[in-house]
Amino acid sequence: MKVADEPRTLAPPRRRTAHVTAVERLGAYHLVRALDSGGPQDPQPGQFYMLSTDERWGGGADERPYLPRAFSHARAREGELSFLFEVVGPGTARLAELRAGEGLALVGPLGLGWRPPREGTRPVLVGGGIGTAPLLCWQDELGPEATLLLGFRSAAHAEAASLFVGRPEVATDDGSAGRQALVTDLLREQLDADPVATVFACGPPVMLEAVRLLCAEFAVPAQLALESGMACGFGACFGCVVPTKEGYIRLCVDGPVLDGERLESALLGGAGH
């Protein structure tokens, strides 16, 4: 069933336990590392995992979380997965409390990741906030020549830039790190200078929509990693649909990375946050 050139590594069809090796704070974010001996060693950049914890998943504020939560792996090296996340609700709060030695329950890798840049174009990676996470392993794979543009709210968030190889261009909303600009300002400069590019972007809906419009303007292919509320992650619930020109598609099996051309808009409501 696996389509040979689909950027999809198959997941084992069960929830398994990975063993947390480290939990670090990284400015405004958290980084959890876990040894996933039961899963494939080659998840594709842009794929994701459904995460929960072996113990005390549930019982937070309002007795949640109940369902697992979707997270792109930031890196996968020698069986160790790392996840970069921001605490926005009960699930991420619980993940932030994990300690080395505890169990991280997961299903994955899931979904369709990034596809290679169009022949003869240079890759430009554009990340906004926590949307930088799935760009990490993609940069690892594309190599350091890929242009990296990152936007953050503030210096605390911009600490995530230190995870990348080389020196990404950084913009912050308040100028507390890098330039005071929007990451889409940086992208326009790049495309103005050299429009022979393929753009890979992940970030909040407004940013993705600006990227989509900009790429359309420059007739540059854009791959956008979107987000939507997911219950299962493997096509079972039909809960994660996003509107495209072809109608609703399930983001968990047909995404999360979509060609910008497939969308009327990347401004999705009711997504993660």
Partner: protein
């Protein structure tokens, strides 16, 4: 070994309609999912006569120990299902139950007749209860309405007919009895309970479909009571579901008189939930 309306099953664990997509699962997990299939029979997502896009997102809201969904029965329609999905579902290593919903008795009749003609289909489930779609009256809430539906479609197929009851009813047991008397071969319950949520900041309905259906552990005690009240009054087999997450929960439903159990929302937390529950019940895997 379990028998459901004359169909032998390797065990009693089914999936709830709409909570496992075997075709999508093969995309995500490959053929490994067929090699140890998680259920002893597979129930399709409900299909309708015409294709449907389903409700606008957001479609999900997490509740204390549960989930509200407002999916709205997206499906390819009868022809799309028969042409595209059925050949793939025929490759599953377990008997296939097709769930159908008609917005009129004519529609229902067409759905039953056409699916019942296909060898790949072992049983047909009539979803007369989905609270997500605006049908005006909910057929399955009323004994007489339900009986009328079953009487209409009963002559159109020799496949066993399962009627899936709605929990949003005065008296599910009375509906079950009416279904039995009208010729149903089994009943399944519960479907989801009507529920809703407001968006945190706007105080407007969160779900694109305004209201949705509540499932998961939060509804288990309600489901168990309804299953027991139904098994007490009907002689046909009962498929019990609602919040089953462990073998212990499944055993409770079997103790309450169910012949089979179905796993719904728990599949979302663990795609192998059916296997785990079967093992905890001491039942063999499907394959």
């Amino acid at each position: 070994m379990t028998e459901l309306c004359g169909i032998p099953l390797a065990g009693p664990v089914l999936n709830g309609s709409g909570t496992f997509d075997a075709i999508a699962a093969r995309h995500a997990f490959g053929d490994a999912v067929l090699e140890r299939f998680p259920f002893h029979a597979f129930v399709s997502k409900t299909i309708t006569l015409a294709a449907r896009e389903g409700n606008p997102p957001p479609r999900l809201w997490e509740t204390p120990a549960g989930l509200i969904n407002s999916i709205g029965l997206p499906n390819k329609g009868l022809e799309g299902f028969l042409g595209l999905d059925l050949p793939e579902l025929a490759e599953l290593p377990v008997p296939l139950i097709v769930s159908v919903m008609g917005f009129s008795l004519d529609e229902l009749a067409t759905l039953v007749r056409r699916t019942g003609e296909r060898d790949e289909v072992a049983l047909i489930e009539l979803n007369v209860s989905c609270p997500n779609v605006e049908t005006g009256l909910v057929m399955g809430a009323d004994p007489a309405e339900t009986a009328r539906a079953v009487e209409r479609v009963r002559p159109l197929t020799d496949r066993p007919l399962i009627v899936k009851l709605t929990p949003n009813a005065n008296d599910p047991a009375a509906v079950a009895r009416a279904a039995e008397q009208a010729g149903a071969d089994a009943v399944s319950l519960i479907n989801t309970l009507k529920g809703m949520a407001l968006a945190p900041r706007t105080a407007r309905p969160w779900l694109g479909g305004t209201t949705g259906g509540v499932s998961g552990p939060a509804v288990r005690a309600i489901a168990l009571e309804q299953v027991r009240s139904v098994t007490t009054v009907v002689a046909i087999p009962v498929i019990g579901m609602g919040g089953i997450a462990t073998g212990g929960h499944a055993a409770d439903f079997l103790s309450a008189g169910a012949t089979c159990v179905a796993v719904g929302t728990e599949n979302f937390r663990d795609p192998a939930a059916g296997l785990r529950i079967a093992a905890e019940l001491g039942e063999p895997a499907a394959v």
